[in-house]
């Protein structure tokens, strides 16, 4: 059963929202919520040129699936998560989370939950290339695998 309600993908290619949206759509759903994370042109006061995402793929897939399982236990939704890795230009989409649900509240909540949770337990790292240098975006408090 579970297998039909969740979908995850990690890809070096441009993300296609319609894949996520089609997966979560159903004639019994009244709501579709989509979150897209986009590469910004600045970070703190740095002017960002582009980003690179790196992942520990088998574990990242496993953790994305775990998040989806958590979600479908909490809410009556279908969920699809697409994460891009590799080099991303400004304005490109790094993350798409889509939920489809009979009612809107649960879809929006599930979407928000997943985005928060991805930061907590999914081993994907972001390197920022800006004027004059590059830096791995690391937050000592950002990773809370046991929470």
């Amino acid at each position: 059963m579970t297998i039909e309600k969740i979908h995850v993908e990690i890809s070096e290619l441009k993300l296609d929202q319609s894949i996520a949206k089609n997966f979560v759509s159903s004639n019994s759903h009244g709501a579709c919520t989509i979150f897209e994370g986009v590469t910004r042109d600045h970070s703190d006061n740095r002017k960002v040129k582009f980003l690179e995402y790196e992942c520990y793929k088998p574990m990242a897939i496993k953790k994305l699936k775990q998040i989806c399982e958590e979600i479908i236990e909490k809410w009556d939704v279908k969920v699809s998560i697409l994460h891009r890795i590799g080099k991303l230009e400004i304005g490109e989409v790094s993350l798409i989370v889509a939920t489809g649900s009979p009612h809107r509240k649960e879809g929006i909540q599930a979407c928000e939950y997943s985005v928060d949770r991805i930061k907590e337990i999914v081993p994907i790292w972001k390197k920022e290339f800006f004027e004059g240098g590059s830096i791995w975006i690391e937050d000592e408090n950002g990773f809370r695998p046991f929470s």
């Binding site: 992942c55 520990y56 999914v122 972001k126 791995w136 690391e138 937050d139 990773f143 695998p145």
Partner: protein, 83 residues
Amino acid sequence: MEIEVLFFASYREKAGVKSCTFEISHGSNLKGLIDKIVQKFPKLHSDPSKIVAAINEEFSDQSQILSEGDIVALIPPVSGGSK
């Protein structure tokens, strides 16, 4: 026994390798392995007890005992996606 260790992102750059095989004695725990890793690559972390690691793709406490064939990955802190 031999344990394969994977390095990612900033750890990969600091270690200068993507993976490395370490020889540890039977019964060693993750902490013992991490101490060995940091001895070899001191730039990795000033406080090895704070390194987060996964054994076979699951986050694991440093007290966990390692077994033959385990794959250990050092997991740098992340701040993925958009804030």
